[in-house]
């Protein structure tokens, strides 16, 4: 597999183990979502991958065209950090060319591609304007362009959607998808579970520096979320046939049944009495958000709350 290979990395700051024996892979062509509550160790892991700090234990490899190197070659990686900004008194194009230059991209092709990207985001008229004239959303688009301008084989996006309006969010989603399709390995860290659920092929969930679960979304849902059946019916439902793990009245005569593990929803529905009079019936798995909150008990539950700095990760 080409892409990023992380093998058993750990990081200790003082007496706290911030990252504890973490292993995962990010394959080229796929999007890996790294999730975890604040202080889970996400930023520390990302910084170790970028070679900004070194793991105390374990190793990080990058494989490209079947050839494996220790550490990620910096000119192949694109990074959009959570703590991000731009030189305020500098022109947009100059910053893009400077950062592309650090990735060893030839100036002419960098210029052409930068213009292309600016046009894509409707920012071409800002190319020669200073950063201080950009809105927050525009600046974020420029930061995004800066991180992928050199056509990296591996892209790390730390909270790329924070502070974006829905239209721009969709734009970003489409471009991130396109990056993976064009063959890059994408590592995405976000608190917006809806987007992660929509976008990521693989999920890696950490809590307090330890791995909680990893795998593709469907298998995680199967493992962590039993089927749930929401029913709106004319009559009161009273049934206990050993298939239901828990039972909730949502509002009025709307009921939610969480099924026991291994119970087929269809089989459960068949057990309803004929005279029940079903008006609505929804069979679903719990959302990633529910799983996340359930797993990270004691972590932060409110999604909107999870936007502040990652200083906790740094310690």
């Amino acid at each position: 597999m080409d892409g990023l290979i992380v093998k058993g990395i750990s990081k200790v700051y003082g007496s706290t183990t911030v990252v504890d024996n973490i292993s995962f892979q990010a394959a080229q062509g796929k999007i890996l979502g790294v999730l975890g509550p604040n202080g889970a160790g996400k930023t520390t892991i990302i910084r170790m991958i970028m070679g900004i700090t070194a793991p105390d234990q374990g190793e990080i490899f990058f494989q490209e065209g079947g050839k494996r190197t220790r550490g990620v070659p910096l000119n192949l990686v694109g990074y959009l950090p959570e703590e991000r900004g731009l030189y305020k008194e500098t022109k947009v194009m100059n910053i893009l060319l400077f950062l592309a230059g650090l990735k060893d991209m030839p100036k002419q092709s960098a210029k052409e591609r930068a213009m292309e990207w600016l046009r894509k985001f409707g920012l071409e008229e800002y190319a020669n304007k200073k950063v201080e004239q950009l809105s927050k959303g525009m600046a974020q688009k420029v930061q995004f362009i800066a991180s992928i301008l050199h056509e990296p084989k591996f892209v790390v996006l730390d909270e790329p959607f924070s502070g974006l309006d829905p239209v721009s969010q969709d734009q970003f989603k489409a471009e991130i998808r396109a990056l993976a399709t064009s063959g890059a390995a994408v590592l995405l860290s976000s608190h917006q579970m809806g987007i992660v659920e929509e976008l990521c092929d693989e999920i890696f969930l950490i809590h307090k520096g330890k791995e909680v679960v990893q795998g593709d979304l469907q298998s995680i849902k199967e493992r962590y979320g039993n089927f749930r059946v929401d029913v709106l019916a004319d009559q009161e439902i009273s049934l206990d046939n050993g298939r239901v793990e828990s039972f909730q009245v949502l509002n009025g005569s709307r009921y939610r049944f969480i099924l026991r593990e291994g119970v087929e929803p269809l089989e459960f529905v068949h057990s309803f009495p004929a005279e029940l009079g079903i008006r609505e019936l929804v069979i679903s798995r719990p959302s990633l958000h529910d799983i996340f909150v359930q797993i990270a008990q004691g972590g932060v539950e409110d999604e909107a709350y999870v936007e502040d700095s990652q200083m906790g990760d740094y310690a």
Partner: protein, 400 residues
């Protein structure tokens, strides 16, 4: 190496297109010229004021006193008699003051001058005039021969001749080394401050992490140091290009000749070494700060370190071969400026030169190593100042 130059180029480009930098570049020589010129003019405008003093002359010596005074001090005879009336007259004519010349002055040397106008210059001139008058009158009274008196009170005239030719201080050499000492000091200080701000700005603009995902922290730091060194040279070159023709034209001093007297190897080694030492210190200091305003006392102390050299300038100038001078020219935090100064004033023994160089370069090397460690962790810390404890922990931190 390639990336280091890219960073250096970027720092230079960013500053050269920055309004503040350009304003500073133009304004600094202007301000300096202002400081040199304005006091001279002020002095000139101040000169022609005339002060009038009334003299109640019981000795008939006012005429003699007037010959001992410059033209702008005028002695006048009051039209009224009696102290109160004279005082009234002084007030009415807006004169500067009045005094009484009588026998008592000659015997005791004491005199009360009542002034209306607190002009220090004319008061001190009158004092000198009165002293001279007192001496003249006392000499006349004592029947001392003036020629004999001059013979007795004449000062010793000592001609100082150095036994070896190179001990002879060359005025030109001295002036040049003092000027260069100040210049190098100024460059180190301004470049150091700019470097510190550059590291701070990288953090404030939240660019550190992006840049560090492309290059190593050490490369970023080296690029900044080299970039600001070149910027300093550009600044210096600009000012010299601007100032030299003016100096050659206006100053009554063989400027070009004097430049030949410059001790180039000393300037190169100590200037460069000093820059390396202080720039590493300043750039890593910038990395430990959140912003200029929140700088702590210990951080402020580091900023003052290059100033240490100034403390030694006085003692070194009076005794360039003394123990203090030797110490200050060996101690790496003062040697960049002091060795340059000493080499202009005296002949520094070779062993001292070599020891100072070794100490300076060694300290600069060690400082750079430590600065790199502080820099790479400091640059990624947001939202607070690093405490001394944290910095010590960073220094113990093992490199990958």
């Amino acid at each position: 190496m390639k990336h280091m130059w890219k960073i250096a180029k970027w720092e230079i480009m960013r500053n050269l297109t920055n309004k503040q930098f350009i304003i500073g570049l133009l304004l600094t020589p202007l301000i300096m010229a202002l400081f040199a010129v304005v006091p001279v003019f002020l002095e000139r405008w101040n000169r022609p004021s005339t002060s009038t003093y009334y003299v109640i002359d019981e000795l008939g010596a006012a005429g003699q006193l007037q010959t001992l005074l410059p033209e702008n001090i005028v002695l006048a005879e009051p039209t009224e008699t009696g102290l109160a009336a004279v005082e009234k007259e002084v007030r009415e004519t807006k004169a500067s003051g009045y005094f009484v010349l009588n026998r008592e002055f000659i015997s005791t040397g004491q005199l009360e001058l009542r002034y209306n106008d607190r002009n220090m210059d004319s008061l001190s001139t009158i004092r000198q005039g009165l002293t001279a008058l007192l001496q003249h009158m006392r000499i006349a009274e004592s029947n001392i021969d003036v020629g004999e008196l001059a013979y007795v009170t004449a000062p010793a005239q000592v001609r100082q001749v150095a036994m070896e030719e190179d001990l002879e201080p060359e005025v030109m050499h001295m002036i040049v080394s003092v000027v260069f000492t100040i210049l190098i000091f100024f460059l180190i200080f301004t470049s150091g401050t700019m470097l510190m701000q550059s590291a701070l700005q990288e953090k404030r603009d939240r660019m550190a992490e992006v840049v560090l995902s492309s290059i190593r922290p050490a490369t970023l730091m080296q690029g900044k140091i080299v970039g600001h060194f070149l910027l300093g040279l550009i600044q210096l070159g600009f000012w010299l290009a601007l100032g030299l023709p003016i100096a050659v034209y206006f100053l009554d001093f063989p400027v070009l000749e004097a430049l030949k007297a410059v001790n180039l190897p000393v300037i190169l080694v100590f200037g460069l070494g000093g820059y390396l030492l202080f720039s590493a210190l300043f750039v890593s200091l910038g990395a430990t700060m959140e912003d200029m305003q929140s700088a702590s006392n210990s951080q402020g102390l580091v900023v003052m370190l290059p100033m240490l050299g100034f403390l030694f300038m006085g003692p070194v100038t009076t005794n360039p071969d003394g123990a203090i001078a030797v110490f200050a020219s060996l101690f790496p935090f003062t040697s960049p400026s002091i060795m340059m100064l000493r080499s202009g004033l005296t002949t520094v023994p070779l062993w001292q030169n070599l020891t100072a160089m070794a100490l300076l370069l060694g300290t600069a090397f060690l400082t750079t190593l430590m600065a790199t460690k502080i820099f790479r962790l400091g640059m990624l810390m947001y939202g607070k100042n690093a405490t001394p404890r944290e910095i010590i922990r960073w220094l113990r931190y093992k490199e990958n």
